[in-house]
């Protein structure tokens, strides 16, 4: 057994939430005097098994433990770090989680100390920048990126090289590179994990973009709700400046570039590029008509390249390994990999990076480990509130821009929510529409009023007051909102409704015709009752009921008075004998 040299603790936002800090302090305190380094790292990806501790040996072997509390950390310390024997029973069970993953964007995430520029450099960091400045013309950089086939990871999938070439062509001496870290999808955390776990990679990508288009200023536009990411980026910028990777005459070249941070202020629409620009300029974040595209006329009228965090994080890798290496992964039109935040009803909820072209089924059932609790895989919501719900019957569909679009969803920025038979598709559609409706900036009538009307209809349906005609109105209105909205928010807002109507129409019909919610989610449509044969008369439910709807039955059992019941489900939660059923 080779000597242990390093112990890593996942201290991204979710690691901290799961209780990794006490584990880190315990290990740091106990190993302070030894030759073993204890360091904080970002997201290891296996969020489902947190808190995570990785033990690295002198010959580079890595053992990941999880979930670890202080007690288990004690054993790892004694048996593995000091004793040299891995603690088999505490190792995190990955069960095929990594087998189909390819890590380009996440190559360092969860393995390096994100506050250390040295660690980033030891893994080839800033080599791409050096190469670009010494050996390549801006034109050659753009060609390399174009040939790699890299497309925007922020949603629309626009070819990155082409976008850069538009901005490069402009004669304006003032140009900007903006990194879009607004990550508005409510239920996604890819960009945040990259910024928290490997911030230099994004900074390096931005500098290279600046060189390619001839910009001397970069802005990271980051969600204000991401304080840790802001902190990491701020430090990364300062460290890069100190090393001469940012500032005047970078690495002795004639190229100068600086980066500042702008914190968003909590408006989903500001992720849209023209709204983002308005917001940076200090205005209300309202989108405007394109063209002109920001690459021609962006911030204060100057050419501005706006790229997503993950897009930029791919750039240094492509330069270092060459476009061929990148293009080897993926499909004909979608090259490379995509990072997804897997969540919802899935065993391995966490951060994954897969080659484009893997099927949805492989992603959910193999990488994701399938559905917990023996439930049935029902659907995935891909692309967040702008995306679509695809049913389990489309598990063979490959994850690439075109295939997803063809089936009514979008690649989006990487939020992927898995749903099982206990999820009501009508209610999920209502949830997303409620979100987009609130976030509409209000400029376009159809987006502002149309989504509101659609939401009213959906609310009616989940409350059991819908009619079959409502479904046709939804379809019609949805199409109109799509067609007559100015920006991507309105144009995509109906997608969750339209796709669920397309793939789960029978569920809508059960709601409007039979006044029944097949997934047993929509409260107004449920009936709670107690099975007298199963009830042991313990009266726990009676005590739990907030409205006193449960009374003694005509024997040793309790009964629910339907007219009083508000269908809160508490009786069912507390019954130790499973005697409360719901229909």
């Amino acid at each position: 057994m080779s000597r242990v040299t390093e112990v890593q603790v996942g201290l991204a936002s979710c690691g901290i939430a799961a209780g990794a800090e006490p584990v880190f302090h315990f290990l740091a305190k106990n190993l302070a005097s030894q030759k073993v380094r204890v360091k904080p790292v970002g997201c290891l990806g296996m969020c489902f098994s947190e808190p995570l501790v990785a033990v690295v040996t002198a010959d580079g072997e890595r053992f990941v433990y999880g979930p670890v509390d202080v007690k288990k950390a004690e054993r790892i310390l004694e048996e593995h770090v000091r004793g040299g024997t891995p603690v088999e029973d505490l190792l995190a069970k990955e069960n095929g989680f990594f087998a189909k993953q390819v890590r380009i964007v996440l190559e360092n995430c969860g393995e390096i100390d994100p506050t250390s520029i040295e660690e980033y450099m030891a893994r080839g960091g800033y080599e791409a920048l050096r190469r670009v400045l010494r050996e390549m013309t801006p034109q050659e950089v753009i060609e390399e990126i174009t040939k790699s086939g890299l497309r925007g990871r922020g949603g629309a999938g626009f070819p990155t090289g082409t976008k850069w070439s538009f901005a490069a062509k402009e004669k304006d001496p003032v140009k900007f590179v903006v990194c879009n870290a607004d990550e508005g999808d409510p239920g996604a955390f890819m960009d945040r994990s990259v910024l928290e776990g490997d911030p230099h990679r994004v900074i390096e990508g931005m500098i290279i973009a600046g060189y390619a288009i001839g910009a001397s200023e970069g802005i990271v536009y980051v969600r204000a709700e991401y304080p840790l990411a802001v902190k990491r980026v701020r430090q990364a910028i300062a460290d890069a400046e100190a090393r001469g990777f940012l500032g005047r005459n970078i690495l002795g070249s004639s190229f100068s570039f600086r980066i500042s941070i702008k914190e968003g202020a909590g408006a989903f629409v500001c992720g849209e590029e023209t709204a983002l620009i308005a917001s940076v300029e200090g205005k209300r974040g309202m989108p405007r008509r394109r063209p002109p595209y920001p690459a021609q006329s962006g911030l204060w009228g100057h050419p501005t390249v706006i790229n997503n965090v993950e897009t930029l994080a791919n750039v240094p890798w492509i330069i270092r390994h060459g476009w061929e290496a990148f293009a080897r992964y993926g499909t004909e039109k979608s090259k490379g990999t995509k990072v997804f935040a897997l969540a919802g009803k899935v065993r391995h909820s966490g951060l994954v990076e897969i080659p484009m072209g893997l099927t949805l089924g492989e992603l959910v059932l193999e990488v994701g480990g399938g559905i917990p609790g023996g439930r049935k895989f029902k659907a995935v919501q891909i692309g967040g509130p702008s995306g679509g719900c695809l049913p389990a019957s489309l598990a063979h569909v490959p994850v690439d821009y075109e295939s997803l679009k063809e089936h009514g969803a979008i690649m989006g920025s990487g939020g992927l929510i898995v749903m099982d038979e206990d999820t009501c598709m009508v209610e999920v559609a209502r949830f997303f529409l409620d979100f987009t409706q609130k976030e509409s900036c209000g400029k376009c009538t159809f987006c502002r009023v149309g989504t509101k009307r659609m939401l009213e209809i959906l609310t009616r349906i989940v409350e059991g007051k819908g009619t079959p005609e409502d479904l046709d109105v939804l379809l019609d209105l949805g199409q109109k909102v799509k067609n007559y909205s100015l920006c991507g928010l309105g144009q995509t807002a109906p997608n969750p409704v339209l796709t669920t109507l397309r793939y789960f129409r029978e569920e809508y019909e059960a709601h409007v015709r039979d006044k029944r919610c097949p997934a047993k989610v929509c409260r107004s449509l449920l009936t709670y009752s107690i099975e007298p044969e199963l009830c042991r008369d313990c009266k726990l439910c009676t005590k739990a009921c907030p409205v006193g709807a449960i009374v003694q039955g005509s024997g040793k059992f309790q009964v629910i008075q339907e007219e009083k019941c508000i269908r809160c489900g508490r009786c069912r939660e507390v019954c130790p004998f499973g005697a409360v059923s719901v229909r």
């Binding site: 979710c14 409510p186 239920g187 955390f189 974040g285 919802g344």
Partner: protein, 162 residues
């Protein structure tokens, strides 16, 4: 999250704090953020100071401030509860937790309890979807919430008060 009484700040002292920002429209949002960070909310009189400093009309500043969800115009309670209603939390039943919190605290979203102890806010994704449903109280995160777990946490904060 300061609970200190808003200092009686004169226009002049704000100007001193504003100094590291350019006197330009693009500073409006960063200045509002700075004020909120210091005071916990945006007091009406500061809008005038920002207007004087940047040369942007007060009405426009109010327009900007109300557009963005981040800005608040009322002081917050001692502890801020931020309950996640993102997608992952939603499919794990976060709406029931929201209802429970509203009932327990007798407040609506964005409201502050009568005793000034808690403000209830709703956010979208706290970045720990694997622990859904999730809430934060001040800097502390609580995951895998149930109604019972919520009761326990609230009781702890209340006990601390006494």
């Amino acid at each position: 999250m300061s609970t200190k009484k808003s200092r009686t700040v004169t226009k002049r002292s704000w100007f001193k704090e504003f100094k590291r920002f350019p006197r330009h429209e693009s500073s409006v949002i960063p200045l509002l953020q700075l004020v909120q960070e210091r005071e916990g909310y945006v007091p009406p009189d500061v809008v005038r100071a920002i207007s004087r400093y940047t040369g942007v009309p007060e009405a426009q500043i109010c327009g900007v401030a109300t557009f963005y969800a981040q800005f608040r115009f009322q002081p917050r309670g001692k502890h801020v509860i931020r309950l996640c209603q993102g997608t992952a939390c939603h499919v794990q039943g976060a709406d029931a937790i929201l209802e429970h919190l509203k009932e327990k605290l007798s407040v609506e979203e964005g409201g502050t309890t009568e005793d000034g102890l808690f403000t209830l806010e709703v956010v979208r994704c706290l970045g720990c979807c694997s622990l859904a449903p999730v809430m934060m109280i001040d800097e502390h995160t609580y995951g895998r919430l149930t109604r019972r777990a919520v009761d326990k946490v609230l009781a702890e904060y209340r006990k601390e008060e006494k």
